[in-house]
Amino acid sequence: MFSQSKVLVIDDDQSTLDILKFNLEKMGYACVISDKPKLTMDLAQKFDPDLFILDLIMPEISGIQLCHDIKANPLFKDRPVIFLTAAEQESDKLQAFESGAVDYIQKPFKVGELKVRIKNQLELYRNTKKLSELCNDMERLAEQRAKQLFHADRLATIGILAAGVAHEINNTTAFINGNVCTFDTFWKTIEPCLMANAGKDKEQDERLKFIINETPKLIECMKEGVKRISRIVEVLRAFYRKEEVAKIPFNLKKCIDMSLQMCGKMIRDRQITVKTEAKDTYVIGSAQQMEQVIVNLVVNGIDAMEKSQDPSLTVKLYSENNQAHVEVIDTGTGIPDDIIKKIWDPFFTTKETGKGTGLGLAIARSIVNDHGGEITVANCHGGGAKFKITLSLAK
């Protein structure tokens, strides 16, 4: 529905004002009239008209001057000005258009024609305004996209670099790992020999005992460190590698269990109550990728409940109409209406700088789509958000 258009009419002659007011109001416009040209800008400020109708020859200030004033004001420079005048010389008309008027109506005027001209100018103004708003939106969008592209490009470069670095690190880790394992076997031989040498010096014996005690722990620690490096490298490589979706039937319930297990520490640390309702349900695709999606949803849900009094996460898995549905429901803040459409955009994040990449949900959606399914979000009554994945059941 259009909001009511507003017209300001300035004319020193009351008959024009009354006839116009009667007709404009009948057309459904709001109309303010004044026979005091000096008050034009004050009235404009108060009334904020969409269109001005000015007389040309008036005492005090001419309509031409008024039109110049209107066009010089940043608030009103785009509003159409129509002259309605008994002045009939070519030079008057020329001056009027040069001052920025969009139309010039000669008295005695025909009301029917006047109405159409006003209506046309208002429509033109409205459309121009809409167009310029759209134009601004597009510019904003282009700017945003350019930033995203720049970011994506940088990320792609990092990805390639990471893949290269990952390869190098993998080689190095391999021989560290090998040597640590070898040393572990060597240690079994070394340890008794060390003990055989004991009993000569009390201080040295203490020292030996300590070493014998600590070395297996050091070895374990090194093994653990190497394992962790390998895992990080694997993630980096997986990020860069675009894999084809595997087409293997897998159990979604297992995915959920694995995902919750992976987030176990987070769940315990934040004292989150987790409820699961799940039965064995088979779909086709990559269990590993689907796990990644569910972990993402669980972590997001946990993050959204950072300030919740009684944080609780529900994960449901059920099948209906030949489809499997996974729901991840939190009791957090919910998602504000103005950003709910943006959450799938790559690089959109509400988390603190450095905490989220803004890629999680974008990747989640692309994985689910690659599986021929869909992922949706909705706010729950009474707070919290519900993410829902729908996939076809394996036959």
């Binding site: 008959s15 024009t16 009354d18 009667f22 008994a86 008295k107 005027f109 025909k110 009301v111």
Partner: protein
């Protein structure tokens, strides 16, 4: 309502109806009020015109007759519109004052005749 129209208007009721129509079907009362205002204001304008012609003040002749022209155009008082328009033109063309005075007198007669018929019971 045609009887009221005959009482208030020197022209044919059909003519008045046409004018009200042309003005977007404005209420007759509003139209009557506007004509009354015009007639109440006109003696002042006539005085201004008279002085302007006496003093050969073309600028004022032009301005005052322009004002009268505007209102009579709005109210579709065609004869008054034509005559005030001629006065305005004569003023802007700096025509001879004798000629202007003659036009002014014709205008005065038209005003008299109109206000008589308008006020007729």
């Amino acid at each position: 309502m045609s009887s009221v129209i005959v009482q208030r208007w020197g022209m044919e009721p059909a003519e008045k109806k046409r004018i009200l129509d042309e003005l977007g079907n404005i209420p007759e009362e509003l139209y009557n009020e506007l004509v009354d205002c015009f007639l109440a204001d006109i003696p002042k304008k006539i005085e201004q015109l008279k002085t302007a012609i006496q003093n050969g003040n073309y600028k004022s002749i032009k301005a005052v007759s322009h004002g009268i022209k505007g209102v009579s155009a709005n109210l579709r008082l065609d004869k008054l519109y034509e005559l005030s328009r001629e006065l305005e033109l004569a003023g802007s063309n700096n025509e001879e004052l004798a000629g202007i005075e003659k036009k002014f007198r014709i205008f005065l007669e038209a005003i008299d005749s109109f206000s008589f018929s308008w006020g007729r019971k």
